[in-house]
């Protein structure tokens, strides 16, 4: 089954030139997002998830950042576009939601102003029309009395409200791809659930594809169809969500899933200690040779220490590990 691809990332390498040396945050990853689907990207802090999203829209300051590779959106390479061309895509065809609703809205501009400025810019409508559209978007994300809220400043809104406003802003131009970078991480659990429901519903209404970045496997299970697992700037595994949860192939993914407390598991397997992945994520400046996960891997072999593992295709899945060669 070959689906229609919306965004294709080929061999993306994003590095930062710093005084301590070159930090390669994303190291030659490849992934594909199909039209209408939600692709989950999961991994620990510092694995390059957010940098991948920021690289897509070229939102990293350059220098120090340097982005190489290919990011094809509708067949056009975003990395070769002029700044003017990429600006026409930002907020319009591809938009982004950030992790911190408290800091990602501008404190000195009203909510309505912040939403309507993108509408005005991309749809060439008047200020009044853009404002009316902004109020409508606030209504769509279920903010009560949207006309009044639109005139308010972010500090008057709670965290959940602000994230709704952020979603309204991101979806205001009906983007074809939404990059959601930890959209629920900063919110408490009940609000998280509301935001997830809201995103699910709007995704259907607006028919947008979503790149969902998170370290929360529960969120992935709920929202995504396919999932990509990242570790130290590399994709280590890619699979359909149900396959990944049923049978994780990479030892890192196995570790991640093993470290989730499951309700009821104790009943089946008796009293069982929660698993952990030993060791620490290595520094980007001191990457281990061979497989980057080998110092922490419970199934490490000799070859893992010496040679980088190949990306193995297996039953429509991809895994970066010697075990499956």
């Amino acid at each position: 089954m070959r689906q229609d691809s919306l965004l294709t990332i080929k061999n993306l390498r994003t590095c930062f030139h710093t005084y301590e040396g070159v930090l390669t945050a994303v190291d030659g990853i490849g992934l594909e997002i199909y039209r209408g689907e939600t692709l989950g990207v999961v991994g620990e802090s510092g694995c390059g998830k957010s940098v991948t999203a920021l690289s897509i829209l070229r939102l990293l300051a350059s220098p120090p950042a340097e982005i190489q590779g290919e990011i094809l959106f509708d067949g056009k390479n975003l990395l070769n576009m002029s700044l003017d061309e990429i600006r026409k895509i930002r907020g319009n065809s591809i938009s982004m939601i950030f992790q911190e609703p408290m800091t990602s809205l501008n404190p000195v501009l009203t909510i309505g102003e912040q939403i309507s400025e993108a509408i005005k810019l991309h749809q060439g409508v008047t200020h009044q029309e853009a404002w009316a559209e902004a109020v409508e978007m606030l209504q769509m994300v279920q903010i009560p009395s949207p006309e009044i809220r639109a005139k308010e400043y972010p500090h008057k809104l709670s965290g959940g409200m602000r994230q709704r406003a952020m979603i309204a802003m991101a979806l205001s131009c009906h983007p074809r791809l939404l990059l959601a970078d930890e959209p629920t991480t900063a919110l408490d659990v009940t609000i998280q659930a509301q935001i997830v429901d809201l995103m699910e519903r709007l995704k259907e209404e607006i028919k947008t594809s979503v790149l969902l970045i998170t370290h929360n496997l529960g969120l992935i299970a709920e929202m995504a169809k396919r999932v990509v697992v990242m570790y130290t700037g590399k994709v280590v595994e890619e699979a359909l969500v149900e396959d990944l949860f049923a049978e994780p192939l990479h030892p890192y993914t196995q570790g991640l899933l093993g470290s989730i407390p499951w309700m009821g598991r104790k009943m089946k397997a008796g009293r069982k200690q929660l698993q952990e992945i030993p060791g620490m994520v290595p520094s980007l400046l001191e990457m281990p040779e061979g497989c980057r996960f080998h110092p922490r891997c419970p199934r490490m072999m000799d070859i893992c220490r010496k040679e980088e593992p190949p990306l193995v295709q297996k039953d429509g899945r991809r895994v970066l590990c010697w075990l499956w060669k």
Binding site: L59, R87, R90, G91, T103, P107, V108, L109, L121, M166
Partner: protein, 306 residues
């Protein structure tokens, strides 16, 4: 808001009273006798006594202060010991000159300092950043009187473009205000750069860019507006200082402002003028600070006064 302004204006009264108290007694601790200065070296004891009586200096110091306060309540600052004209009139004659100089200087400083700070922040550690930063350093480390003299040499004596001093046309304002601005601009450039570097790295700036806004819009609408609070603070403080008389600049350019008035009055031990001028300085400084505080609320909606 109005309530807040009224409250703040009323609170200037105790501050001014405090200033007047300190000023009154400290002035009288200065060595030198005003009556002697006024009468001259050759005056007889009798003359000096008469003058002292005229000025009310023969009364006990607390009584003198009481008289000063009761006059002040009627907005009467007394008469100058030197010229016999009302102090208010003396100040009034020079205040516009000082305000003109201060406003021109601060405007020039903002016109150069804020854009320079923004450019430095947008392109940090590039040649243009180093250029502006070193210009700022140059401005701040150059003594005002030396810069003033050099400007006179170049633009008046050599090029004959501008008058060397005095007051009259707009041409007279250029050199003194430029001299003052050179000093102030350094503060403004530095604070703008620091403040902008911070706001440009905030999440909301990335959000603004992710919407597809032009870089100019991101910088001015999203980053600069957030960076304004420290900038306005520094501009306000510097403006207050400029209003407090740019003594050196006014002296170099023979500019008839409050700075020179107060220096001349101190040399002549002209107590009423010194007191009056310093009270006016205090009042202006308080008012500038009030305006700055009100601007905060205008810039940042999170700041509200009740």
């Amino acid at each position: 808001m109005l309530q807040y302004v009224i409250k703040r204006l009323l609170s200037t009264i105790p501050v001014l009273l405090g200033i007047s108290l300190l000023l009154f007694f400290m002035l009288r601790m200065l060595p030198g006798d005003p009556a002697q200065v006024l009468a001259g070296q050759m005056a007889s004891q009798e003359d000096i006594k008469n003058i002292r009586q005229q000025l009310g200096l023969d009364k006990p110091i607390f009584v003198q202060y009481g008289i000063f306060l009761s006059r002040l309540a009627k907005l009467d600052l007394g008469r100058s010991a030197r010229t016999q004209s009302p102090v208010i009139k003396e100040i009034w004659a020079r205040l516009p000159n000082t305000v003109l100089l201060a406003v021109t200087a601060i405007t020039l400083a903002c016109l150069f300092g804020i854009p320079a700070g923004i450019i430095s922040a947008v392109r940090p550690y590039t040649w243009i950043d180093y250029l502006f930063t070193s210009m700022a350093l140059f401005g701040i480390s150059m003594p005002v009187f030396w810069l003033g003299l050099m400007l006179i040499v170049v633009f008046s004596l050599v090029l004959h473009w501008l008058p060397a001093g005095g007051i009259g046309s707009w041409k007279h304002v250029i050199l003194p205000s430029f001299t003052l601005a050179a000093f102030v601009v350094a503060f403004i450039t530095r604070i703008t750069r620091a403040s902008m570097i911070e706001t440009l790295s905030q999440d909301y700036t990335t959000t603004a860019r992710s919407k597809g806004l032009k870089e100019q819009v991101v910088i001015v609408k999203h980053a600069l507006k957030n960076a304004l609070i420290p900038i306005v603070t520094v501009v306000g403080l510097q403006f207050g200082l400029l209003l407090g008389g740019a003594v050196l600049t006014e002296t170099v350019f023979a500019w008839p402002g409050l700075g020179r008035l107060i220096v001349d009055s101190i040399l002549a031990r002209d107590y009423p003028v010194i007191q009056g001028t310093i009270l006016i300085f205090g009042l202006l400084y308080i008012l500038v600070n009030l305006v700055v505080d009100l601007l905060y609320a205008y810039i940042d909606p999170r700041i509200r006064y009740a």
